[in-house]
Amino acid sequence: MISRERKPGQFIILQLNSNFGERIPLTIADADPGEGSITLIFQTVGKTTHNLAAMRVGDSIQNLLGPLGTPTHIEKYGTVVCVGGGIGVAPMHPIAKGMKEAGNRVICIVGARNKSLVILEDLIRKIADEIIICTDDGSYGRKALVTEPLKEVCMRTPKPDLAVAIGPPIMMKFCAETTRPFQVRTMVSLNTIMIDGTGMCGGCRVTVGGETRFVCVDGPEFDGHKVDFDNMMKRLGAYKNDEKAAHDKCHLEMAVKEKSV
């Protein structure tokens, strides 16, 4: 059902255990309605993602809800520059693909910490009219942050008609700052702490243009030039200590499991 209904930009919420598990939002990277499958790409950063990574073929996720969020508005803009940082390349891909199918010229900028963390390069190459890869350590592509090629693209004539930036909050913030002087409209996709994902709790709220908006129903995409990233990043850190404790405990448990095997 989710694979049939989902559109680019939408996400799901999953929970590994009904009684005590946490609910985490993940963007849908791809879907195959024929097979009834969706593709999720995630990085192991805490307890739930580690446990998710430890699952094997045939295991099942207890709870999966979606597709959630307002789909990306896709139309023919002209030239669209899509920036994906790290794991953000996963949600960027369906949007870039949709933009291409709508007749846009698509420039993709893919950034990662190092070569081994560059993902989906083949798929992006298939759809992008131009691809720029950069790594923080220079192990692949240019040694640069994504903002550097983004600035160069903005300086071209004609400048791009739309930018899409998806990645860590700090990257999206600086992408928005990079495009602001060029007045290139910039869409960002936010991933905040959520519980229900249907607008019921307000835990995911962010300040956009001075107004409170819910990422789960009003988003996840917003005008990057209006998002209060500093407030959002502070809210994302609200449970840092609890998350770290759970993460550390999870690593201990994994280590014990490995030893006993």
Binding site: M1, I2, E5, Q15, N17, S18, N19, F20, G21, E22, R23, K47, T48, Q62, N63, L64, L65, G66, P67, L68, I195, D196, G197, T198, G199, M200, C201, G202, G203, R205, V206, T207, T212, V217, D228, D230, N231, K234, R235, G237, A238, Y239, D242, E243, A246
Partner: protein, 495 residues
């Protein structure tokens, strides 16, 4: 305050005295019987646990309380009940010790007696016009109809084991019920009883709606809600969780592609209101919905097991004066806050919370601040709440709700030292159905507009009821709405 044992002992003696002459009691004798108090966990003890506060009547208490009923011919209590339970009949059966009959009388009109016996505001419904309360000039001394209802329902559950209501032969028609709160539970049962197939859709991973995520365990044990859902399943209702109609599937598709003959929308009032003051998005500010959902549904109170964390605040402010504000304040107490302050801009007399809940909160140490309100919330450089600037108010002329309007006192600003703020000033209708079903008509508050007699919406074969129609209201009203729409749907499908 008398202890639970003391109350039980007293009732035991009274009962022995009353039993031989129970049918010969004159009204004067009945009004002389002391009103039976609810046995509750000691406040100091319950501050530290999530268990239900009210322990329930003993059997003797229940029968003594039932003997207080005057069996008024005009039964004003029935007029006060939103679903018109035949109260004198069930109370008489209680006095006679015939609990089976009592519960079957209740069940003629109410599907969720164990829930309603706990969370209905009886003091403004059935018990408000009770003659006994009038004679004793105190609504607190009316016959405790709610506690009797609860006793009958609990007894049925614990002893007899509830049998699923009979279901008529299959009609081949099918109905989708969206949401799984009280309105939807009632609608699902009533429609299923007529032999129609019913599929219930819930967005969360556990069904029950506000009964699961909103009302805390200490007021409504989740076991009771789970049993009600099990009962629906036993009747053959299919319950699908993790399914948000509008997103996972459009409402129109249910009718046009999936073969449903009718749809009931009971999606509730799940959109939290905020104050729109500065600092409201700081870390440590929560909607009551978020705070309660973390604790109830996600079980964050169980810090050793739950993966969902909840704030570890020392000084908590709760803004609001309704039952949800009380639930939030009392949950904060149980999560270990040193101080919990309830801030409300009118006085206790205007507070929409049940008197009993306000009393429970005070007994548990919640500090009430009346005629005060938050002006802005102050954060530190990490974006965390460190305080709240408040204003004092006084009561002015009555407003359109009939309550005296709170008027701010200029220059009365003062600081309150808090590290968490819970906003419990109400909820609006959940907008998802409206957003994804443009044809459905809503009013300016986002409530779905329905025909009053049938619950029919502007979309053919789609009915609605509960808080999505009423705005945030009560469990019993939602139930009544579910019942009304079910009746109309059954009529439609019989054609």
């Amino acid at each position: 305050m008398k202890s639970a044992d003391q109350l039980a002992d007293e009732a035991s003696h009274l009962f022995k005295d009353l039993l031989p002459r129970k049918d010969a009691l004159k009204p004067k004798d009945r009004s002389g019987i002391p009103a039976q108090e609810m046995r509750v966990q000691d406040p100091q003890v319950r501050r530290g646990n999530m268990n239900e506060v009210a322990i329930g009547y003993t059997e003797e208490q229940a029968r003594v309380e039932a003997m207080r009923c005057l069996q008024c011919k005009n039964a004003p209590c029935v007029q006060g009940c939103p679903v018109r339970i035949r109260i004198p009949e069930f109370v008489k059966a209680m006095a006679d010790g015939d609990y089976g009959r009592a519960i079957s009388v209740i069940r003629e009109n109410s599907l969720l007696p164990a829930v309603c016996g706990r969370v209905c505001p009886q003091e403004v419904q059935c018990q408000e016009p009770c003659t006994m309360g009038k004679i004793l000039k105190n609504v607190d001394h009316a016959v405790s109809i709610g506690r009797l209802e609860r006793f009958a329902a609990d007894r049925e559950r614990e002893q007899a084991g509830k049998k699923a209501p009979a279901v008529k032969a299959a009609t081949g028609k099918k109905v989708a019920v969206i949401g799984s709160g009280p309105a939807s539970i009632t609608a699902a049962a009533d429609i299923r009883r007529e032999g129609h197939a019913v599929t219930m859709y819930e967005a969360f991973h556990k069904p029950g709606g506000v009964l699961m995520y909103g009302i805390p365990e200490f007021r409504l044990p989740k076991k009771i809600v789970e049993l009600e859902i099990d009962n629906l399943k036993a009747m053959g209702v299919e319950v699908i969780t993790n399914f948000v109609v509008g997103r996972t599937r459009k409402l129109q598709d249910l009718l046009e592609k999936d073969g449903f003959d009718a749809v009931f929308v009971g999606t509730g009032a799940g959109l939290p209101k905020f104050m729109n003051v500065a600092g409201e998005n700081l870390v440590g500010v929560f909607s009551a919905n978020e705070f309660l959902t973390r604790s109830n549904l996600m079980r964050a109170f169980d810090r050793d097991h739950a993966d969902t964390p909840i704030v570890r605040a020392k000084r908590v402010a709760v803004l609001g004066g309704g039952n949800v504000a009380m639930d939030s304040a009392r949950t904060a107490v149980r999560l270990g806050a040193d101080e919990v302050h309830l801030v409300y801009r009118r006085t206790e007399a205007e507070m929409p919370a049940r008197v009993e809940e306000a009393r429970n909160a005070k007994e548990e140490g919640v500090i009430f601040h009346m005629l005060e309100n938050c002006k802005r919330i102050i954060g530190n450089d990490q974006g965390r709440v460190v305080g709240m600037e408040c204003l004092r108010y006084e009561l002015g002329a009555p407003d359109e709700s009939g309550r005296r309007r709170p008027v701010e006192i200029k220059g009365s600003e003062f600081m309150m030292d808090v590290d968490a703020v819970i906003v419990a000033i109400g909820n609006e209708s959940n907008p998802l159905i409206k957003k994804t079903t443009p044809a459905i008509q809503t009013n300016k508050y986002g409530n779905i507009i329905v025909d009053e007699a049938t619950g029919r919406t502007s979309v053919d074969r789609v009915y609605a009821g509960g808080d999505i129609v009423l705005g945030a209201a009560t469990v019993i009203l939602a139930m009544g709405e579910g019942r009304r729409a079910a009746e109309a749907i059954n009529k439609l499908l019989a054609q």
